[in-house]
């Protein structure tokens, strides 16, 4: 996993509540057995109109948002299906960071597994960012994970909070499976204890 330290990049906005993972990556892209190449499917149904042409109002079809690496969203971003294809598709497109007032649990978690940073900001900050992004072509932000800060071109600094364990995994690009395997002794001891306490769990 690539470490996440500082990202400076173009910001695009997606002004919809409850963006679900079925929209982020529709089902026809879930038949793959790979993690890569999923940007083709990113927001496929929103990128296209019903006759199959590109929808010029959607951010991905607007030249001013080409090269976006930070996505601004609304409440409950990433709800629905657990498909990790959603962060894979965002990442494949080049998005490293999603900023929203709230996220759905599984999506939030899946981001961290892929070197992506989901940031929760209060409604007021989000609303202001939406206004600025709409009004300012080429609007960029700098996200600094170590400092837990977002710097705006106007010179403002927004702080955000993050679970310290996740932060350190992301900063260092840690392999969490490797971390868990270091605790083999604890896992084996737990299993030995459970075999006595709840033998039916081991007899199946």
């Amino acid at each position: 996993m690539d470490p996440f330290t500082t990202v400076t990049g173009l910001v695009a906005s997606l002004d919809r509540l409850n963006v679900d993972t079925d929209q982020i990556i529709p089902k026809q892209y879930l038949k793959t057995i790979k993690r890569t190449g999923l940007k083709e499917g990113l927001f496929y149904d929103w990128r296209h109109t019903s006759d199959g042409s590109l929808d010029p109002t959607f951010f991905m079809n607007q030249p001013r948002f080409s090269g976006t690496s930070i996505l601004l969203g609304r409440d409950n971003f990433g709800c629905g299906s657990s498909r990790e294809h959603a962060p894979w598709a965002l990442l494949d497109y080049g998005i490293r960071c999603v900023i929203a007032p709230s996220f759905a649990d599984i999506f939030y978690n899946n981001c961290f597994q892929n070197g992506m940073l989901p940031i929760v900001l209060p409604d007021g900050d989000i609303n202001a960012l939406f206004d600025t992004v709409t009004a300012t072509e080429g609007y960029q932000l700098t996200v600094n994970l170590d400092a837990q800060s977002i710097s705006t071109p106007e010179g403002n600094v927004l702080q955000f909070t993050i679970d310290p364990f996740r932060k350190s995994c992301l900063l260092n690009g840690l392999d969490t499976i490797g971390l868990t395997l270091q605790h083999e002794g604890d896992i084996a001891a737990y299993e030995a204890k459970q075999k006595l306490a709840a033998p039916w769990l081991f007899s199946g």
Binding site: N18, I33, S81, Q113, F165
Partner: protein, 471 residues
């Protein structure tokens, strides 16, 4: 010290170690695997030179991609076929129990887990699928995970977790006739919203819940994720133990008795406290229908489609307008005036034997409306067999419903069962997201009884006062 909730008891019993920085290494007892979210996990495992720690704690089945029509010629879509073959190969390589397409036990992963006795009270259960919350109906802590976490569990039988908060949803009183668990959960989500339980594990309690069968409890817990919950759970009781007893993978004899004794201790203590409480009266719950593009956008069948102009909050008004545009609905019309093209009875929410029995009882002797295409997709091969033994397939077919093989089918339309653009469906599944059942398709979530009645009349009806318009 105050008492503990059921969730806390199960959590505590599965802590392997507390890591620095407030993260817990949690032991996972059982792992369900399907074809869509596992290939990359197995691949990652192999690339890192790691192994599967406990293949015997896993059960794997293809369900999302499988055809529900005649399977004797295999799967025509080569990409779907490849995914299913990959699962089978991975299972063979690692010695993981696998129910293939030709196996009568094949079915939707959340139907077969309980059916096989793989799901037991007190367990931690995961699957790379958000509706893993279903298994909480047994008093287990069951939740959906992403593919990276699937790999983590394959390799270590553990997960790194932060402890969620607890939410008690208390439902009391007698449910009115013709209402079911589906109506309870849709009413709960309409009330608290699709993010109303984000960050929480929900425990459903109260005498309405106690009175539900195991099938009903599974329907309820299944949709916990649609309220954003990490998991949903219901304390195990006699219903639970009776359901589990005698299942192929359930313990037997003295071990079973010991297990029941231990499962009885799981109940939330009377002096335990929850972080949040929501209370509902069953008598207030009417048959539900969704009108929008998430499961929280729903109302009682005797209500009207909302009018965005009457909504104060800008974001909510815009979201409502967007949903109505997508759904092609006129604001303010009665829900019962919405005409449908398709009816789908199936999915891990409502495709168990009890759901099919109930649906058949409403379909018996009637005919599906001439405009409507209706199908019934059993949750598993065993449910299908049972239904056929009881003659339910005959009832459905005589009424004009198609009778299919088991799988996810039109719940997410990864197989050939799809809505065409603009088609409107009464569906017993769990998600009405845009395009969920096919690009441009319009999904209304309902109970099996409501889906059957809508299929017969060609539009939604209030089944409490339904007098069929045909003999």
């Amino acid at each position: 010290m105050s008492g503990q909730t059921m969730f806390e008891k199960i959590w505590d019993a599965h802590v392997v170690r507390e890591n620095e920085a407030g993260t817990t290494l949690l032991y996972i007892d059982r792992h369900l695997v399907h074809e869509v979210t596992s290939p990359q996990a197995f691949e990652g495992l192999k690339l890192a030179g790691r192994t599967v720690r406990h293949p015997e704690f896993i059960l794997a089945v293809p369900d999302h991609n499988v055809p529900t029509t005649d399977r004797s010629h295999g799967i025509t879509d080569p990409i779907s076929a490849k995914q299913i073959e990959t699962l089978e190969n991975n299972c063979r390589e690692w010695g993981i129990p696998f129910f293939g397409l030709a196996d009568q036990r094949q079915g939707i992963v959340h139907v077969i887990g309980p059916e096989q006795g793989f799901t037991l009270p007190g367990m931690t259960i995961v699957c790379g699928d958000s509706h893993t919350s279903t298994h909480g109906a047994f008093g287990a802590l069951a939740f959906g995970i992403g593919t990276s976490e699937v790999e983590h569990v394959l390799s270590t039988q553990c997960l790194l977790q932060t402890k969620p908060l607890t939410l008690l949803v208390q439902v009391d009183g007698t449910l009115s006739q013709h209402c079911s668990a589906k109506d309870i959960i849709l009413a709960i989500i309409a009330r608290i919203g699709t993010a109303g339980a984000t960050g929480y594990v929900v425990e459903y309690a109260g005498d309405t819940i106690r009175a539900l069968s195991m099938e009903g409890r599974m329907t309820l817990c299944n949709m916990s994720i649609e309220a954003g919950a990490r998991a949903g759970m219901i304390a195990p009781d006699k219903h639970t133990f009776d359901y589990v007893c005698g299942r192929p993978l359930a313990p037997t004899g003295k071990v079973f008795d010991d297990a029941v004794e231990s499962w009885r201790q799981l109940n939330t203590d009377s002096d335990a406290t929850f972080n949040k409480v929501v209370e509902l009266q069953a008598a207030d719950i009417a048959p539900q229908v969704t009108w929008g593009t998430n499961p929280g956008m729903g109302t009682a069948v005797d209500q009207r489609v909302p009018d965005p102009r009457s909504i104060q909050d800008n974001a909510v008004r815009a979201a409502t307008q967007q949903a109505l545009d997508y759904m092609g609905l006129t604001p303010g019309i009665p829900m019962t005036e919405i005409a449908i093209d398709k009816a789908f009875i199936g999915s891990c929410t409502n495709a168990r034997i009890e759901d099919l029995r109930l649906a058949a009882s409403y379909a018996k002797g009637k005919k599906v409306h001439q405009r409507v295409h209706a199908m019934v997709v059993p949750g598993s091969g065993l449910v299908k067999m049972q239904a056929e033994d009881e003659g339910l397939d005959q009832v459905f077919q005589e009424a004009g419903f198609e009778w299919r093989e088991a799988g996810c089918s039109m719940c997410l339309a990864m197989n050939p069962d799809v809505l065409r653009p603009g088609e409107r469906c009464a569906s017993t599944s769990n998600r009405n997201f845009e395009g969920r059942q096919g690009k441009g398709g319009r999904t209304h979530l309902v109970s099996p009884a409501m889906a059957v009645a809508a299929a017969i009349e060609g539009h939604f009806v209030d089944i409490r006062s339904w007098t069929p318009s045909q003999p």
